[in-house]
Amino acid sequence: MGIVLKLGMNWPDGSQWQTVWAVFQGLLLEAIPFLLIGVAIATAARAWDPRGRWLQRLPRHPLLGPLSGAALGFALPACECGNVPVARRLLAQGAPMGASLGFLFAAPVLNPIVLLSTWAAFPDRPWLLLLRPLGSVVIALVLTALLQQLSEAALLAPDLLEERRMGQPLATASLLDRRSGLIGNQPLSPTPAIAAERPSMAVLLDHGLREFLELGSLLLLGCAIAATIQTLIPRDLFLAVGQAPTLSVLSLMLLAVVVSVCSSVDAFLALGFAAMVTPGALLAFLLLGPVIDLKSISLFSRIFRRRGILFMLAGVVVAVLLIGQWLNLVLL
């Protein structure tokens, strides 16, 4: 049939490109409000706590830090597009690394909207309602521990690192990280926005606006890639492996990355194929998508350097695969 893409043989026809364009617009117009909410929360945090005094009081304990960050998801409900600017602001204001990363990775699942939608989609699978948030916390702990193996200078994007350094006592930075004095590059001069005790309305608006445009332009790219791939590659390819324990987990992880659906509704999408796949694959789909997908991966470049993104990708893939495998071992 003409409308079914034969991979590698037919160039997509007009109706397929029109569908790509429509899916792109759907993804984008759905994501922009959440991005705006995230930037608004981040800007409010900047206005409320310009020197990060309150945010810096979040726990620094290796376990309590990520857990407290994850718990912030209940207070600041945002899905994966909205939580990037909020996590970035936490880091920029000098909040402990563990708490900020815990929020970044767990908040898209640990919020009331996502948990309610999971319950609404799968009322007959109480184990899923328990294991989804639990798995999300485990992943946040694993990723936080993994990423903290890198120094802040090797992990964080340069402009974020600079802003974070400005908000912290100089004694907390190493000589190399300070990039001042006899070692390293030219000393950095604090920008007026950071040096000011309480930023003016003009500064707040300028930073919020810049952040929205920067993340928005990355979101455009992510939506375009996600729309193209998910329209041109038949979804059945991901579901074909059915009940194979490991392959089903891997293919559903790939599907989660490709479809790029907001975490507040991904459970309803998963309902559509839940009967065709293993329980571990279903859980893997619901755990991986909120952390990383094609739509949001470009946004992470505003927080991490490339090495940090690669560490994160490797860590989350291994963690989700192991959780999915474990569940299949228990339930199958």
């Binding site: 049939m1 429509a22 617009q25 984008l28 117009l29 810049r210 920067e214 332009s217 329209t231 559509g272």
Partner: protein, 227 residues
């Protein structure tokens, strides 16, 4: 004479306002009906208004010098494309690419049933999956609408897309139809079908099928998705 950086100073608020206009246009033109589930439309409206208001505030409280021109340029180039090129998704292309999904509540026995002639296509699919005995529905009147979805090695089915959030999660639900003799069917065409529910044997298994008596082309509904 204008300063060299003056254009850059005005660009970010202008782009922000432009995207506010894009969102408002998408909301006002009905375009969102083809892209998002209705529950999310108000979010787009509020966001559009907020972006316009923030753009106004950013002009009013302008700093002496702005930064970050490149992202603004990317957003500036994309906005007119989204504004001027409307979405024209092919539902059958989307459907061909995706498996028919389960529907919320279908694993339970449905306790409320509207009369047969008032059931939508999605109501019928939900019912047939919940209580699949085809003899229960033999002879029931059927009045449904949907688009023509070709299926491999079988007659086209009448289908709808169920959408929870946006087109990305659109999942087709289809119902088999025995079409009247000589009916010309085009993929994506919207039809109103009336007839009765019958039973047919496919691969040794009995299943319900709509025996179409009249088939009437109709315009695409204003809100073509079902929840």
């Amino acid at each position: 004479m204008a300063q060299p950086g003056a254009a850059l100073n005005w660009l970010p608020p202008f782009v922000l306002g432009l995207w506010g206009a894009v969102l408002l246009q998408a909301w006002g033109s009905g375009r969102l009906n083809l892209l998002l589930q209705a529950d999310f439309h108000w979010l787009v409206l509020v966001s559009g208004l907020l972006l316009l208001a923030l753009a106004g505030l950013a002009v009013r409280f302008a700093p002496k010098r702005r930064s970050g021109g490149t992202p603004a340029l990317v957003m500036l180039l994309a906005a007119p494309l989204v504004l001027l090129i409307p979405p024209r998704p092919s539902f059958s292309t989307l459907a061909a690419n995706r498996s028919s999904g389960a529907l919320e509540g279908e694993s339970e026995t449905l306790t409320f049933l509207s009369p047969p002639e008032q059931r939508s296509l999605t109501d019928w699919v939900r019912l047939l999956r919940s209580q699949p005995d085809p003899e229960l529905y033999r002879g029931d009147p059927v009045r449904i609408s949907g688009f023509v979805m070709p299926t491999p090695q079988a007659a086209p089915v009448l289908a709808r897309l169920t959408v929870r959030c946006c087109l990305a999660d659109a999942t087709p639900v289809g119902i088999p139809v025995i079409w009247p003799e000589g009916a010309s069917l085009k993929a994506d065409e919207w039809l109103a079908v009336s007839g009765e529910m019958g039973v047919e044997r496919v691969g040794g298994v009995l299943r319900s099928v709509v025996i179409a008596e009249t088939v009437q082309p109709i315009p695409k509904p204003k809100r073509p998705f079902e929840p």
